[in-house]
């Protein structure tokens, strides 16, 4: 059953997908930093307030994924920021996250060599996002 994007239910299903993925488990071995996703508001898309997704990822496992404020996500070691509609493009595979970052469509903050070293893990994480059935606010 579809869940609301960037809701607590969505975060739970996303975490389950990450922890089910053997590809992620292997590609993210050694990762020990938190990742925050900032989803910027787009009131005209029925997404009126920014939200933050805080991911506690450790050595190939998602220990916790929570939805909170954008400020919570901005405190993480790595922060990826984009408007709601860009995140929708990523989750629906319309936009490849790596290309999005190279084009500046997704803004990345954090230690670059580390994130580049874990490109495969971040790609698999995007795959995991796309496996969660989502009810998009702008389609309601």
């Amino acid at each position: 059953m579809p869940v609301e994007f960037a809701s607590d239910d969505w975060a739970k299903q996303f975490k389950d997908e990450v922890n089910k993925s053997n590809v992620y488990k292997s590609a993210a071995k050694g990762w020990k930093w938190t990742v925050g996703l900032v989803v910027e508001a787009e009131p005209d898309k029925n997404f009126p307030e920014a939200r933050g997704v805080v991911m506690d990822l450790f050595d190939g496992e998602a220990r916790d994924i929570k939805v909170g404020s954008a400020a919570d996500a901005q405190k993480c070691d790595f922060v990826i920021t984009a408007p709601y509609s860009r995140w929708k493009q990523v989750a629906t595979k319309e936009l490849d996250a790596t290309k999005g970052m190279l084009q500046g469509k997704l803004k990345l903050k954090g230690d670059l060599p580390t994130i580049v070293r874990y490109t495969k893990a971040s790609q698999e994480m995007t795959e995991c996002t796309s496996r969660v059935p989502v009810e998009w606010p702008d389609e309601r």
Binding site: D77, D96, M101, D111, V116, T119
Partner: protein, 159 residues
């Protein structure tokens, strides 16, 4: 448990285009996201690793990188311990690398082996070699500049 925001990592961010170590500058008033990323990546590598710093100091070459699936590129103008990153491809390039985004990321993940040679026999290396054979990775100027390419790869690699 890791506590977010404790500042345990040395942060080097893409959005902070300030030339922290004085090694990298940008040739455009508004560097593209790709230019900022490559400049930041190389600077972080060189600052953190004395071997890469030696390579960086010895490099004098103009290297173009064109990402075929986003139609964007940069020119890396290495000048003996200084790097200027330009948006787009500039004239008079020593080497021009053309590949899709995934292959460019793979190039920065090539391991460096014995005698400072990039490793082409592990998973990442085989993938890069395969793209080269299939013509999906094109390197203009390769035959006459192999030593320069290896040096650029070492500076560029995060491994």
């Amino acid at each position: 448990m890791h506590i977010p925001g404790t500042g345990r990592m040395a942060r080097r961010t893409v959005d902070a285009l300030a030339d922290e170590a004085g090694l990298v500058k940008y040739g455009s008033n508004e560097p593209s996201a790709f230019a900022g990323m490559l400049g930041g990546l190389i600077e972080a590598n060189v600052v953190a690793n004395p071997d890469k710093r030696k390579d960086f100091d010895a490099l004098a070459a103009r290297v173009g990188i064109w990402v075929t699936d986003i139609d964007e590129g940069v020119t890396l103008a290495f000048d003996g311990g200084r790097l200027t990153v330009y948006n787009g491809l500039e004239p008079n390039l020593t080497l021009t690398i053309r590949a899709d985004a995934d292959t460019v990321m793979s190039l920065s993940n090539l391991k460096i082996g014995l005698l400072g040679m990039p490793v082409y026999y592990d998973g990442v290396g085989r993938g890069v070699a395969l793209q080269l054979m299939r013509g999906k990775l094109r390197i203009d100027g390769l035959l006459t500049n192999i030593a320069t390419l290896n040096r650029v790869t070492r500076v560029f690699s995060v491994q």
